[in-house]
Symmetry: C2
Subunit: 326 residues, 2 copies
């Protein structure tokens, strides 16, 4: 099979490709080729058992989406997006990439006669905006408070309508905050959720800018890849017209994150977390969802970690080769 991944150079895209390189198949079908599109060149995984084509393009430009689907990939994973902060800072760019780019892709597929691929669209819990119930259920309305969240909510609506009309077979997955993100600390307001685990395990101090009592919704990078694989291979005959799904995750407080780190890595590692309150970050985080009741996704077979210790262990296994700095 041939798989097209838009946004294939990002963290989740790279991990997805690495997993496929390891298995060589998806849903029982041998993978012949992966096309990884992004605005920068995606690198082929080591020991790659399939053809790998890195395409640098911008699907918001005319003709680019048509070129990407010309060879009719059976599966399209759409991860490409201008992130939240950038979409808020640059209104035009956010709408151009996140809305027009998505619509161009969907339109290109619609106009390709006799072509009906599976399309997995990654959305975000940013489609929701405060005030919330403590647990957001599957029927809660989307009231985004960012342009990014608006663009993702529109993408979900288009995905459902194009699927209902039979132009493709879409599944929309709203990812939790991915924790522990590999790499180095970045300036994303959500960065500290990962920083306070990743950096101490590397022997480096990390800043905690919010209260211990802040509650958030997490899943590991391994779970994110699992969501993509399940969305790509699941039986959609019973999914019905409501195809945008809040993915399962684990809700916990920062205090529970720290307690889990203490159990796994000990007091010395936890001591590397430095409390430096930042009222700006505190304010941003106050508007974020804290907890979900993602029953539909669970019923449809999506799985994530059951506790935060598991999330830390996934990080130690997948990123640190099983070791950390005591």
């Amino acid at each position: 099979m041939h798989i097209l991944i838009l946004g294939g150079a990002g963290m989740v895209g790279r991990k997805f490709i690495e997993r496929l390189a390891h298995t060589g198949e998806l849903g029982g079908k041998t993978i012949d080729k992966i096309t990884a599109q992004d605005v920068v060149a995606a690198t082929a995984p080591a020991a790659c058992p399939f053809a790998f084509d890195a395409v640098v393009s911008d699907v918001s430009l005319p003709g680019q989406a048509e070129a990407l689907i010309a060879s009719r990939p059976e599966l399209i994973i759409h991860l490409a997006a201008v992130v939240s902060g950038e979409a808020e800072a640059d209104f035009d760019k956010g709408y151009r990439i996140n809305l027009d780019g998505t619509r161009h892709l969907f339109e290109a597929i619609r106009h390709a006669e006799g072509y009906k691929p599976r399309v997995v669209f990654t959305s975000s819990v940013a489609v929701f905006g405060a005030p919330f119930h403590d647990k957001i259920d599957d029927e809660f309305f989307t009231t985004p408070l960012t342009s990014y969240g608006t663009q993702k909510a529109i993408g979900e609506l288009l995905l459902c309508d194009y699927s209902r009309r039979g132009f493709f077979d879409g599944v929309g997955i709203r990812l939790p905050t991915i924790c522990v993100r590999p790499g180095t600390p970045n300036k994303a307001a959500s960065g500290f959720f990962s920083n306070i685990i990743r950096e101490p395990l590397n022997g480096i101090d990390a800043v905690l800018p919010v209260s211990d009592q802040v509650r958030h919704w997490h899943a590991s990078p391994r779970s994110a890849v699992g969501f993509l694989i399940h969305a790509a291979t699941m039986d959609t005959s019973t999914i019905g017209p409501r195809r945008a799904l809040t993915m399962p995750g684990y809700s916990c407080t920062v205090a529970e994150q720290i307690e889990s780190l203490r159990k796994i890595a000990g007091e010395g590692v936890v001591a590397r977390i430095k409390r430096v309150p930042d009222p700006v970050i505190d304010g941003i985080v106050a508007g974020w969802p804290r907890n979900f009741e993602a029953k539909r996704a669970a019923a449809l077979g999506f799985k994530s970690e059951a506790n935060f210790e598991e999330i830390i262990r996934v990080h130690i296994d997948d990123e640190l080769g099983g070791n950390f700095v005591k």
Copy 2:
């Protein structure tokens, strides 16, 4: 003040313009001019106390939205839409008019420096799709089952985002089914809700294609005009970022509609309703919302009829000069 009405030649637009011609003012401000845009020429109301400009154009075409707002109307009422059946039959036309047209309008406003009009966007309960709760509350998610409903839901999201960013001051109103629609029977699946009242009052037989037990959500044309006026003049300082509102209405069964007609007009009029079951219409109507709990709109001051007898009396007063055929 100068008011721009997109879709000004339609039933609700015409009634709104007639009301303004009667009062000559809106929210205490004298109306100097109304520009009524549509794909066909809107006709000026009789005894029109303000300048009236009928513009025939298509806002989905480049430059048309910019031309309409060039004189900076303080209030924009956006009623223009390809209706449900047509948007379903002609996918491209629906998205072009209902999505692109709306976005062009919003973009033209955004690019007009120092301009921040009130924008009233008429949406529809078609943003909801079955299965529903018996009463749909204000936090229920939008799961449209038509392209029209999808386009309206996207319009709502854009309205909220553009308002949040400060480009205009938007209010979105989801209209109930308007009953009793004046005019002659049309082929809309919802037509019978009006036909079974209007035609018998005119001495003409009408077909009832569904069961007495079908429940639906109604407001009169007079209420629809009232919603527009309130949305145009209300204080939006406390509305918050959730600007798409389900309008109040009255939920009743067809049996209650008929019983109300019997009370007001007598058995002879009711006898003109002929039961001719149509399983196709029955199937369509089964997917429609039956009842709402429109608390937010009520709290914000929107008002509608309290029972179906009132809806019939509005029709007899406004359309029949107080008389009907016994």
